[in-house]
């Protein structure tokens, strides 16, 4: 018998406790997987297409369970605690290189994104139940909600993945499911065209990404990003790592992640897909899938290529690349949005611009790492740290994502309600809409104001934190290297005001004329010419409107919550 083969019984004894603890860390994902399978069975059991909505309620329960179990994984930081670990690996394995690495990790960073994603998925399920586009395909509604659960599972794994293979699988799980969801309205030619463009762009960029991953694996001999960091750390000193090959690998990897967050030059799919997809799916792609992409990208760059604490230098100067891409992305998005006539298309370009703003926060993450190394090199400055947490780029990106969640979902929800009645998404057809439905017009106005980033809305808080993080001076040299990026961002915010205001002008100031689209159903118009909406769809607006305004004034809880996440990283 080959002596190298370990006795299976001994192996089982060794791994049983590991699997057991891993499964308990994997509870939210397990719930989603089981829920997805049960939703398919439920769909088969329901015969009448009018009752298919039951699957939606089931999906809601599963998502709520995933939300609660993710919440229980949250580990609040206790001042002076020695047992506080902040995270644990899922499915760890031993190597000679590093004591313990795993496929995924449960830490506050991943938990934050899981909470954000499951919350937005729940809102999307509710939104889909009120959507006319989804309702028209009644017989297939069961599949729709089941796929939504699979999509959420993929997005849960994205920010938690710490292994290149896991990153690829989670990204593809999200991509493949969203190709189907985008083409959900099969008979609609716009929807199927959008899904074709999505699948071609998606396959191209994820192909580039996996090729980049193969190069990174070849350079470092490991697929774990923690391992990559360890190898680079020692390899850089010994000059055994080829810089050019490393750059090629990283840039190709960024292609796949940049496509997920729709950063230039991988943004071409965004307007077409957002315009063709059913509105709830557009909203989901613009918020949850982008949040997952940012989680993945941040972990890849921060864990894989952080600062070398011995030399105080970045292992790879990625903040510069991200800064250039950020400037290009927001400028491109804002200027293209100026000449759009379809509001979904306009918002698609605006989400590209918002991805650019969040990438500015990502640049601040890089310079924050740099500062952390410097603070450590002069000894641990305890009084500097709280300031460091609150102003760090990571906190700013997360605050921005929270702001973006409520604002953007709210805007898409109102657009969906309007499209349900007037059957159009053209800004021209919004003329005089304030008279037809004052509540919808005012709330869309507030969401657009928040997207611009005007004070007293949550959008302002998001932008403010991004600004302060990028302009935070180095604590030792007092240098602020990214002033130009902040200037580009301010100018872009001014440009964005123009196209947001154009929608408000159409709604509030202009009068409806002969060219304005007529109402599709005469029954929905009240005696005084106003559109009537069901009570539930009106109440649901406040689920987005209240956080947009309240968090714009009272935002300290969000800041405290997100600061907890960063404390974990500083312990490493």
């Amino acid at each position: 018998m080959n002596p190298n083969i370990i006795n299976p019984q001994e192996l089982a004894k060794l791994f049983a406790p590991l699997v057991k603890t891993s499964m308990s860390h994997f509870l939210p994902e397990t719930i989603l997987t089981v829920g997805f399978l049960l939703a398919i069975i439920l769909d088969l059991l329901i015969k009448k297409s009018s009752q298919k909505k039951l699957t939606g309620y089931f999906a809601l329960i599963v998502l709520a369970a995933a939300f609660v179990t993710s919440w229980m994984q949250w580990q609040p930081y206790v001042e002076g605690s020695t047992t506080w670990k902040g995270g644990s690996m899922i499915f760890p394995y031993m190597t000679t290189l590093i004591p313990q690495i795993g496929m995924a990790v449960v830490d506050n960073f991943a938990v934050f994104f899981k909470l954000l994603i499951s919350l937005s998925a729940m809102l999307i399920v509710l939104m889909s139940m009120l959507s006319r586009e989804v309702e028209e395909r009644g017989r297939h509604n069961g599949e729709y909600f089941a796929l939504l659960l699979a999509l959420t599972l993929g997005m849960f794994l994205m920010p938690a993945a710490t292994d290149l293979v896991m990153m690829y699988i989670s990204l593809e799980l999200v991509s493949i499911t969203s190709y189907i969801m985008v083409g959900f309205m099969k008979e609609n030619s716009r929807s199927s065209e959008a899904s074709m463009k999505y699948v071609l762009f998606g396959a191209f960029s994820s192909g580039l990404m996996i090729y980049g991953f193969s190069i990174l694996y070849g350079l470092t001999g490991t697929t774990s990003i923690v391992g990559i960091q360890a190898v680079l750390q020692s390899g850089m000193e010994a000059h055994t790592v080829n810089q050019l090959a490393l750059w090629v690998g990283v840039i190709l990897s960024l292609a796949g992640m940049g496509y997920k967050i729709s950063a230039a030059p991988f943004h071409f799919w965004t307007p077409d897909v957002y315009e063709g997809a059913p509105i709830p799916i557009t909203a989901l792609l613009s918020v949850a899938s982008k949040a997952g992409g940012f989680g993945l990208l941040m972990r890849f760059l921060m864990f894989g290529f952080p600062v070398d604490f011995q030399t105080g230098k970045l292992l790879l100067n990625w903040p510069l690349v991200v800064a250039v891409l950020a400037a290009v992305t927001m400028t491109l998005g804002n200027f293209a949005a100026l000449r759009q006539s379809n509001i979904k298309r306009m918002l698609a370009y605006s989400t590209i611009a918002h991805a650019g703003y969040m990438m500015v926060g990502l640049v601040a993450v890089g310079s924050g790492l740099f500062m952390l190394a410097e603070v450590r090199s002069v000894g641990f400055h305890k009084e500097l740290l709280p300031h460091f947490y609150e102003m760090s780029g990571m906190v700013s990106v997360m605050i921005y994502l929270v702001a973006y969640l409520f604002t953007n979902l709210g805007a898409f929800y109102v657009i969906m309600l309007i499209a349900n009645k007037i059957g159009s998404e053209e800004i021209e057809d919004y003329k005089g809409f304030a008279k037809k439905s004052p509540l919808l017009a005012v709330s869309l106005g507030i969401f657009l104001v928040s997207l611009t980033g005007i004070p007293l809305t949550v959008g302002f808080i998001g932008k403010l934190y991004i600004f302060s993080s990028i302009l935070t001076a180095d604590p030792i040299t007092h240098a602020t290297p990214w002033v130009w990026l902040a200037v580009v961002m301010v100018l872009n915010s001014v440009v964005s005001l123009y196209y947001y205001v154009r929608v408000m002008q159409a709604m509030f100031i202009k009068q409806a004329d002969a060219q304005t689209a007529p109402l599709t159903s005469a029954l929905s118009v009240g005696p005084d010419g106003t559109l009537s909406y069901s009570l539930i769809s009106k109440i649901f607006i406040f689920a987005f409107l209240v956080p947009t305004i309240v968090l714009g004034v009272y935002f300290q809880p969000v800041v405290d919550f997100t600061s907890n996440v960063v404390r974990f990283f500083s312990l490493q």
């Binding site: 190597t95 290149l164 293979v165 690829y168 699988i169 593809e172 991509s175 493949i176 190709y179 189907i180 083409g183 099969k186 008979e187 030619s189 716009r190 199927s192 065209e193 959008a194 899904s195 074709m196 463009k197 699948v199 071609l200 396959a203 191209f204 192909g207 580039l208 996996i210 090729y211 991953f213 193969s214 190069i215 694996y217 070849g218 001999g221 490991t222 697929t223 774990s224 307007p271 077409d272 315009e275 063709g276 293209a336 000449r339 759009q340 298309r345």
Partner: protein, 102 residues
């Protein structure tokens, strides 16, 4: 001359470039999807060659298996979408299926 790591990497790079060329130049969606398969297989060749000649662990071979599985799933979904495109547009040429534009 013995076959070494470099030979495999060169084949991988050639496949990768051919795949990108096919994706950008073909006028049929099916051919574009074949380009995707070439790119993925280029990555697979890299992974397996690095594992064979690097000899640190089997992570690369594991990655290649996952890539194959995902490629199959992606191809299935993509072909279903192409069928649907043909039903709606009576064409599978991406430049003709272009009603969504600025």
């Amino acid at each position: 001359m013995t076959v070494g790591l470099n030979h495999f990497l060169v084949i991988g790079a050639i496949l990768f470039v051919l795949g990108i060329f096919a994706m950008l130049s073909r006028r049929n969606v099916i051919a574009v999807l074949m380009g995707v398969e070439l790119i993925l297989n280029a990555a697979n060749i890299n992974f397996i060659a690095f594992t064979r000649y690097g000899g640190v662990n089997i992570g690369g071979q594991m990655a290649a298996i996952f890539v194959i599985v995902i490629a199959a799933g992606e191809a299935a979904v993509a072909l279903a979408i192409v069928l649907n495109i043909y039903k709606n547009f009576k064409s599978v040429n991406p430049s003709e299926v272009d009603s969504l534009r600025d």
